[in-house]
C-alpha cells in the first residue's frame, strides 16, 4: 500500500522523532511510506481561531499534495480531525474543492486507525519495559472516536506497564490558542492533568498529539516532575526498550548560566 505521511508542521519542526517513529513502524511492517515535501500545515490554528480565509489556501494545498495516495497517515489526532471534520465545512461554497475533500478525507487516518482498522495489526514487536500512562486527547477521543485503539497497541508492547490515567478523558487545557488567550483557565486545567499523571507514578506520559503533550510536558517540566512525555508512536517504534534522547535544539547551546 502506498501510504503518504502527513507529519504535521509541529512535528516537522519540534518533534521529528514522532515522524521517524511512524516511518520506522510502517517500514518494519513492510509498507512503503512517502513523504511529499510540498506539505506544510493543515491550517487548524487558523480555522479554529476564526481565520477561515487564511485557512482555505492550506486546505487546498493539503488536498493537492495528498489526493494521490491510497492512504494518508498523520501522527496527530487533532490534525486528522481537522481534515475529516472541518475541511468539509471550510470548503463549503467551492463545489470542486468540496468534492475533492469528500473524496480524500475518509482516507486520512490517525496512526492507530491506520494500524488497527486498515492494516489490521495490533502487535508491532515493540519492547518498552517502563511504566506508562496514556492521555486520550480530546480530538482523538470525541471527534475521531479512536476509542481504545492506541491503548490496544500499547498493551501489546513487550514489558510495558500500562497504567490507567485517572480522568483521562478530561481536556488538558491546551486547546490551541486557548492556552495563551485564557492562560489562567488553561493552567488550572493543566494542574489537574499533571496531578492525575503524578497519581499514576508513571515514568512516561503518552498521547496521540504532540501539541497537547507540549502543553502537559511544559507543566510537568516546570514542576520538575521528571516525567517524560512522548507520542505513543515512539513507544511503538522502540525495539530496544529505550526512547531516543530528547532532541536538542539546533545550534550549539551557550552554556547555561543561572543568573536569576
Amino acid at each position: 500500500m502506498r501510504i503518504g505521511l502527513f507529519v504535521t508542521c509541529v512535528n516537522d519542526l519540534m518533534y521529528p522523532g514522532t515522524g521517524q517513529a511512524v516511518v520506522t513502524i510502517l517500514e518494519r511492517l513492510g509498507h512503503t511510506v512517502e513523504f511529499p515535501a510540498a506539505q506544510t500545515c493543515c491550517g487548524q490554528m487558523h480555522a479554529n481561531s476564526g481565520y477561515r480565509a487564511e485557512a482555505l489556501p492550506l486546505v487546498r494545498r493539503f488536498v493537492d499534495v495528498f489526493e494521490g495516495y491510497e492512504a494518508v497517515v498523520a501522527p496527530s489526532g487533532s490534525c486528522v480531525a481537522m481534515v475529516r471534520d472541518s475541511y468539509p465545512r471550510l470548503a463549503e461554497g467551492d463545489a470542486a474543492l468540496s468534492a475533492r475533500v469528500a473524496e480524500l478525507a475518509p482516507r486520512v487516518y490517525e496512526l492507530s486507525e491506520l494500524l488497527v482498522d486498515v492494516l489490521g495489526v495490533t502487535e508491532l514487536g515493540a519492547v518498552f519495559p517502563h511504566r506508562v500512562t496514556y492521555h486520550t486527547t480530546c480530538h482523538g477521543l470525541r471527534m475521531l472516536r479512536l476509542g481504545d485503539r492506541p491503548e490496544r497497541l500499547l498493551r501489546n508492547v513487550s514489558g510495558i506497564d500500562l497504567v490507567e490515567l485517572p480522568a483521562a478523558d478530561e481536556c488538558c487545557g491546551f486547546g490551541g490558542t486557548f492556552a495563551v488567550k485564557n492562560p489562567d483557565v488553561s493552567t488550572a486545567m493543566l494542574a489537574d492533568k499533571v496531578r492525575h499523571v503524578l497519581d499514576t507514578d508513571a515514568e512516561v506520559l503518552a498521547a496521540a498529539d504532540n501539541s497537547c503533550l507540549a502543553h502537559i510536558s511544559g507543566g510537568l517540566g516546570r514542576l520538575r516532575t521528571g516525567v517524560r512525555s512522548v507520542h505513543y508512536a515512539e513507544i511503538l517504534a522502540a525495539t530496544d526498550g529505550t526512547l531516543p534522547p530528547r532532541t536538542e535544539p539546533a545550534p550549539a547551546a551557550p552554556t547555561a548560566t543561572p543568573t536569576d
Binding site: 521517524q20 490554528m45 488567550k181
Partner: protein, 499 residues
C-alpha cells in the same frame, strides 16, 4: 459571506448577556477564588456521574437525541407558522398573547399587566428568560416587589448576588454559606438553623409559604410551548412552580419564541431528554402543563409574552441557529472543564458555560461579546452530552470567524501574524526557510533570554521564560524548542530527496 451582510437588518437583544470585562480577566479572578473552585468542582462532579448513570440506563438515548434535534430543527425552520398556531390555540383557550421585540418591551408589558391587577408584588417561578431581560429590576423601578421562589434563586436574591448556573443559579454557594445567608436575611430564622440541606429547604418552605397563599400575581417562564394546543409546560422539582402556576389569580408567562414544540405528542421526546440531562433523574418531581384558562382550576387571568430579544437575529445565521434548540438542561455546563474552573459569573451572562459562549454572543451580536466564543478549549465534551445535539464547538469556531470577519478592516497584531503564517505555510520554500530560521534563531534567542536555553533543572530542549506575548505560555509551562534536525531534513538524509 454576502448572506451575512444582511444580518444588521435584524436587531440584537439586550439584557444580562455580556460581561463588562473580557472573559479572561473575569476568569482570572474566578480561578483564584479557592472557595468558589471547591464548591463548583464538588457540585459539577456530583451531577456528572449521576447524569452518566441515568443516561446509560436508556438504551434508545441516541435515537431520542436525534429526534430532539430534528424536532428543534423543524421548529426553527417553520417558526412563524408555528408561533401563529400557538397564538391562535392559546387565545382560543382563554389566554392573552403579547409580543415583545426586546427586553425593554417585555418588561413594559409585564409591568403594566401587574399594575392592572392592583398588586405591588409577584411570586416568580425560576425562569432564565426573565433573568435575561432583568425583569426584577424593571419591576422594582415600578414599585413592584418580585419574590423568587426557587430555592437557588431565593438564595441568590437574598444575597443580592449573581446567578452562576442555568439550573442551579446558586451552585457557587456551599451549604455553610447558604446557612449564613438565610440566617442574615430571613427574619424567621434563629441560631438553631443548621447547614443540613434538609433543614435549609425547610426554612425556605416556611419563609415562602405565606407568599404563595396570599400573592395574587405570578410570573413564570416556560420550558415548552405547544403550537397545536397553545399549552405551556414547566418542569420543576420543589413545588414552587406548581404554587405559582395554580394558586394566584393572574399568571404572566414570558416565553422566548424558540420554546415552541409542534405538537403535544412531541413532548414525549423532551420529557425524556430534559430530566435525565439536567437533574439526572428519570423524571423531575413535578411537570405542569396548562392551556389558557380552566374554569375553577388555577389562574383565571392568563397572559403569555412572546419574546424575540435577538432570537430572530440568531435564527438568521444558518450555522449558529442550532443554539436556539437549547432546552436549558445545563448538562454542557456540568461537563465543561472551563466552567468547572471559573463558575458561571465569569461569563457575565445569565447563560454561562458552553451554551452561554454560543448563545450570549448571538443574542447580543458578536461585536458586543467578543471574548466568549474563545472561552473554550474546543474539547467537545459539551457536544457529547447535549440532549439535542447542538454542535457547540462548531458554533464556537463559527462565531470566532464571525468576529474576525466583522473586524476585517481594523488592524490587529493577531491577524497580521495569522496572515503571515498562512503566507509562509502556503509555499514549500517559504515554509522550509522558516523552519530553518526557527531552528537557528532559537539558540541565540534562548541565549539572550536570561542566558539559558534549558531552564536549570528543567528538561532538555525547553525554555522556561519567554517575553510577551509568549509569556502567556511560559507563565505556567516550559516551552519546547525546535529540534536540532527537522523531520524533513532527516527524511532527505535517510530517504533521499522527496517527490
Amino acid at each position: 459571506m454576502t448572506e451575512r451582510r444582511m444580518l444588521p437588518l435584524l436587531p440584537h437583544g439586550s439584557g444580562h448577556l455580556a460581561p463588562p470585562q473580557a472573559f479572561p480577566r473575569r476568569a482570572k479572578v474566578a480561578v483564584g477564588d479557592t472557595q468558589l473552585r471547591a464548591n463548583i468542582r464538588r457540585a459539577t462532579h456530583t451531577i456528572r456521574d449521576k447524569r452518566a448513570h441515568v443516561v446509560d440506563e436508556v438504551d434508545d438515548w441516541e435515537e431520542l437525541r436525534e429526534a430532539g434535534r430534528a424536532l428543534k430543527e423543524r421548529v426553527a425552520r417553520h417558526l412563524p407558522e408555528l408561533l401563529e398556531r400557538f397564538e391562535q390555540a392559546a387565545t382560543a383557550a382563554g389566554a392573552t398573547v403579547h409580543w415583545a421585540r426586546d427586553a425593554a418591551e417585555a418588561n413594559r408589558i409585564v409591568t403594566e399587566l401587574v399594575r392592572a391587577t392592583g398588586s405591588d408584588e409577584v411570586v416568580k417561578v425560576k425562569s432564565m428568560v426573565t433573568q435575561e431581560i432583568e425583569l426584577n429590576d424593571a419591576l422594582e423601578r415600578a414599585g413592584i416587589t418580585a419574590y423568587e421562589t426557587d430555592l437557588a434563586e431565593l438564595i441568590v436574591q437574598l444575597d443580592r448576588g449573581e446567578q452562576s448556573h442555568i439550573l442551579v443559579p446558586a451552585i457557587h454557594y456551599n451549604r455553610t454559606e447558604i446557612r449564613e445567608i438565610f440566617r442574615r436575611e430571613m427574619p424567621d430564622t434563629d441560631d438553631a438553623l443548621t447547614s443540613d440541606p434538609a433543614v435549609l429547604a425547610e426554612a425556605a418552605r416556611r419563609h415562602l409559604r405565606r407568599k404563595f397563599l396570599s400573592t395574587k400575581v405570578a410570573v413564570s417562564g416556560a420550558n415548552f410551548a405547544v403550537a397545536d394546543t397553545g399549552t405551556l409546560v414547566v418542569l420543576e422539582s420543589e413545588g414552587n412552580g406548581r404554587m405559582c402556576l395554580t394558586l394566584p389569580e393572574t399568571l404572566i408567562s414570558v416565553v422566548g419564541i424558540e420554546k415552541i414544540v409542534p405538537t403535544f405528542a412531541d413532548l414525549e421526546v423532551f420529557l425524556q431528554l430534559l430530566p435525565r440531562s439536567s437533574t439526572a433523574e428519570r423524571m423531575n418531581p413535578y411537570t405542569s402543563t396548562w392551556t389558557g384558562v380552566r374554569e375553577g382550576d388555577g389562574p383565571q387571568d392568563v397572559h403569555i409574552v412572546l419574546l424575540d430579544n435577538g432570537r430572530s437575529a440568531t435564527l438568521a445565521d444558518t450555522v449558529g441557529r442550532q443554539a436556539l434548540a437549547c432546552i436549558r438542561c445545563s448538562a454542557c455546563l456540568n461537563v465543561c472543564p472551563v466552567y468547572e474552573r471559573t463558575g458561571g459569573i465569569a461569563y457575565g451572562s445569565v447563560y454561562p458555560g458552553p451554551i452561554g459562549a454560543i448563545i450570549s454572543p448571538q443574542l447580543t451580536g458578536v461585536e458586543r461579546n467578543k471574548s466568549l466564543p474563545y472561552a473554550s478549549s474546543l474539547c467537545g465534551a459539551c457536544y457529547d452530552v447535549c440532549p439535542v445535539k447542538i454542535n457547540i464547538p462548531e458554533v464556537l469556531v463559527h462565531l470566532r470567524q464571525t468576529g474576525v470577519d466583522g473586524a476585517r478592516e481594523r488592524p490587529s497584531a493577531e491577524r497580521t501574524a495569522m496572515r503571515t503564517l498562512a503566507w509562509v505555510m502556503s509555499d514549500q520554500r517559504r515554509y522550509e526557510n522558516a523552519l530553518r530560521a526557527a531552528r537557528t534563531a532559537t539558540g541565540p534567542i534562548a541565549g539572550l533570554l536570561a542566558g539559558k536555553r534549558t531552564p536549570p533543572g528543567g528538561p532538555a530542549g525547553t525554555l522556561g521564560h519567554l517575553p510577551w506575548p509568549l509569556s502567556a505560555w511560559t507563565v505556567s509551562r516550559d516551552a519546547p524548542l525546535p529540534a536540532r534536525q527537522s523531520f524533513r531534513d532527516w527524511w532527505r538524509k535517510t530517504h533521499g530527496e522527496a517527490r
